[in-house]
Each structure stands twice: as structure tokens, then as C-alpha cells.
């Protein structure tokens, strides 16, 4: 399927390409395919290609001389590409400990949503989530696929310090805090997995288009994995990778 895209100049050296402003997996596929094409095409020029729910932002390293030429290039590149996805995607199983010590907002959420804590955990860990993009913080994954029963508006006043590894839900999204940070989402558990590492390139091993499942673990398994990560004897492997 081909979409009607809007091309505009964002600043002296960036171009914004926009899809319809909705959250949709087919749009995600279209965005990731196009990103792939742009990166292949622009390999000689220095560019950054950033994606989000419904847009691509291309940042060139130098000023754009003729914006209309660039638009023309991009339009023909989009027309020429095949819709068949050639972007590889993996499925990851992220261990999460939903202990009350970690899931600091479980109690409040259970009251507000009129669900027991085990129902909450079940609804959260049964879904398969899609990674739409990374933003907000280094390594923060925007995950779609939250069970509608868990949709809940963000906190009106953000929490001052959400701990690194916190697994949280906000609005219709799920996420994992890759570092200590203020945050407005409801924290329901914690993972020992490190989602962002400055010593690896790329610094994130999970990428947009990948799928995520959460596997409930108890506290002793949490600390076991945490210790193995500290000793570098634990590496999360994808459950499956599709070409």
C-alpha cells in the first residue's frame, strides 16, 4: 500500500516526511521500509534518519542547497520502492518482576481500574507489543499493543524519580525507563535488562519494528539476572528473528 505523504522543510538541513497522524502498524512498516531505502540511497552523504509514529525526519550534515530537488529525489525513491518488507525484525522476551517493591503504582492502578493485581499483571504480560520508535530518553522504547483494559491517562504531576528499568504504562502505550528519570507513566514492575549501552554500537539492541513480550519473574530471578548482567555473563537473545 502506498500512502499520500507530505514533504516539508524542517530547517536548513532537515526534511520532514509525514504520514497520516494515527498509530498504525502498516504505517510503521511503510516508515521503516522508506527509512531503509533512504539510508541505502544516502550512504555516501552523511544523514541521520529519525522515525516516530507517523513521520521521518532526515537530518543532513550540511545545508540543503535546493530543497525542491531533494523533495523530488525522495518522492521518486518512495514511488520506486516495493512494499514488501525487507526490514528484519526480532521478537524479544523481557523478564519483568512485578513485585510491589518495584511496581510502585500497581496498588493505585489496581484500585483505579478495578482489577486485581494479578489480573493487571496477566493483562500486561499476555500481550505482544510492537516497538514503534525510540525517543524521550536514550533507549526509551515506545511500545504499542497495550490491552485496552489497561489504557490509563498519564499522571497529571510526573513522579520525580522513576528508577532505571521501571516497566510502565501511560495512555495507550507501554514503556521501559532506560535510566533514572522524572516520568508521568504508572510503574508496574522492573526489568534487570539494560536497554541502552554506550559501549555498543548501536547503543540499543532492540529496534523499531521489533516485537516484545514481557515474562513475569520473581524477585530471586530478578536479582540472579541482575548479577549475571553485572558480571557480563548474561546476554538477552531474541526469541525469533524474521528476515
Amino acid at each position: 500500500m502506498k500512502y499520500n505523504l507530505k514533504y516539508s522543510q524542517y530547517n536548513e538541513r532537515s526534511i520532514l516526511i509525514e504520514w497520516q497522524a494515527i498509530i498504525d502498524e502498516n504505517i510503521l512498516k511503510s516508515i521503516l521500509n522508506f527509512k531503509n531505502c533512504i539510508q541505502k540511497k544516502c550512504i555516501k552523504q552523511k544523514v541521520e534518519v529519525i522515525t516516530s509514529y507517523n513521520s521521518i525526519l532526515i537530518i543532513y550534515k550540511s545545508t540543503i542547497d535546493n530543497i525542491n530537488d531533494r523533495f523530488k529525489e525522495l518522492r521518486s525513491l518512495y514511488r520506486a520502492q516495493k512494499f514488501v518488507s525487507n526490514v528484519q525484525s526480532s521478537i524479544w522476551e523481557i523478564p519483568v518482576c512485578y513485585d510491589m517493591d518495584f511496581g510502585t503504582d500497581l496498588h493505585q492502578l489496581s484500585k483505579e481500574k478495578k482489577l486485581t493485581i494479578s489480573e493487571l499483571i496477566q493483562l500486561h504480560s499476555e500481550q505482544v507489543y510492537t516497538v514503534f520508535f525510540i525517543g524521550f530518553l536514550p533507549g526509551f522504547l515506545y511500545l504499542g499493543g497495550l490491552h485496552p483494559k489497561l489504557y490509563f491517562d498519564r499522571k497529571t504531576t510526573p513522579s520525580f524519580n522513576v528508577k532505571k528499568g521501571s516497566v510502565a504504562i501511560g495512555g495507550q502505550q507501554a514503556g521501559i525507563y532506560p535510566q533514572d528519570s522524572p516520568g508521568g507513566w504508572y510503574v508496574i514492575g522492573k526489568t534487570p535488562i539494560k536497554l541502552f549501552n554506550i559501549r555498543t554500537d548501536p547503543p540499543c539492541f532492540i529496534k523499531p519494528g521489533d516485537k516484545i513480550k514481557f515474562r513475569p519473574i520473581d524477585k530471586s530471578e530478578y536479582f540472579d539476572i541482575d548479577e549475571r548482567i553485572t558480571k557480563s555473563s548474561f546476554q538477552l537473545k531474541p526469541v525469533r528473528t524474521d528476515a
Binding site: 530547517n11 537530518i59 533507549g139
Partner: protein, 282 residues
Amino acid sequence: MLKVLKSGFYSTIQDHGRFGYREYGVPSSGAMDLYSSQFANTLLGNEGDSTVIEMTMIGGIFQFLKPTLIAISGGFMSPKLNEESIKQNTVIKVNSNDILSFGQVTKGFRTYLAVKGGIKSHSVLKSKSQYSPITKLSTISIGNILKYKPHYGKFLRPNASVKYEASILSDSTLEAFAGPEFNQLSKHLKEFLINSEFKVSKYNNRMAYQLEPLCNNNLNSIVTSPVLPGTVQLTPKGNLIILMRDCQTTGGYPRVLQLTEKSINILSQKAAGNSLKIRLKD
């Protein structure tokens, strides 16, 4: 090597920032006023993106442990070498144990200290710019030792044809592209944005500058979308937030304007209370 005897109000190590990591949520960072940092480097014959010290509002005191050449550009913080006033935007020779001191800024807001060959520090994700937690430290502090390659050569005469554009410090008009959501603004709000005089609020730092007064906003939040340094966001309460070098990579507020590169440099030299106008780029 140079020793930080006093760090000043907020001093960081900066180069041109990180390129290629925004897709992983990593801010660009880099010198706030890239023009001035690049100017100081150019005077010394350094690469434009060599690592410099960025000082904000109140400068630091530094002791040089080996001879080198330095250049100072950007905001004016009354620089002194061994208690003697020295000029900015020129090359200055320093000897072992010389003490370079800065005071409170009297013009502009951010001052750049460049050293011949650049400050040698640890690179993280291909940049030396300090931004915690990408780098361990978020600023330099008293007692830090910063490395550089000593320069024993003769005094280097700066290229006479390079002249510092002091308008970076005095200009008060920011030039902007219409942002992706600009056309959703009411006619009234568009006019308000480009005809009003704004003031820099006390909420200003390397991540963002807020402006005063509030606007009457008629726009809802958007689906989380990419933003860049220079993106002007309008919050539901009517706050205008101009994102700066350390800003997040995505945001959910309407992006009403986008500052030009030069205007980001100009804004970087503004402090709380300074007046500003915004002009739409043709």
C-alpha cells in the same frame, strides 16, 4: 594539562555534539553557540569542532600546567591572565602555571575557551560533549584536570581576515521557519507569535528556553513526533518552549516554529529577562 581552580556557574566540555544517535533517543548536545565556539577554534587553527570549555553566566578560574595558545569567544566575562585583562577573539600565549580567570558575564551569556589542538577528553558515542548520563559527568568541577597537547611554538598571528560577528551577542530578533503545526494556529495566534515582544523566562538551560508571556493556545497535543534543537513548542497552557542543544529527540507538543541555526546561537547568548522578537523566514 589545565587545572580547574573554580568551575564557574555552569561550565561544560563541548564539541559539535553527537551526530547519528538521535534515532536511539540520544540528544545532540554540542556547544550552545556553535558560531562562537567554532570562531575560537578557527583562530587557533583547530578543526571547527574541536573540544572547548563552555561557561555560562559566571566563568571559572583555570591554571595552565604547560604552555599553549588559547582563544576566547562569545559572551564577555572580563578575562584576565595572571590578573591582567586580556582580549577576546584573538590568540593569547599562556605559559606554565599561568592563571586564567573569568568573572560575571557583562555581554551575552555563554563564553568559549579554546586551547590549541583542543581539549583531549574521553569520547562517548563519537562526541566529547558532556551530557549525563551519556557521559559520566554533566559539568566540569573544581579540581578537574583537563588534558591538552602542550604547544611550545611561537606566537601564532591570527588570520586578520576573520572578524567576530558581535551581532550574535546583540541581536534580539530570532528568525524561524514555520513549524509543522504552524498552519493549525489561529490567525490571531500566528500574528501574536510574530508581532509580540517576548522575554526569556528564568526557566532557561541547555535543554530549553521558555518565553514569557503565555499565549492563548488553541492547539491540542500531537502524536509524539521528532523535534530538534531550535524547535518551538506550544504547550496546552500556552507556554512557548524553545528546545536547545540538549533537548529530547521527540515530543508531543505542537511544533509551531523552527529557529534557524544562527538564531539558536543568538538565543544561546540570552539570559532571563532579555527581550526577543520572532520573525518568520521568507
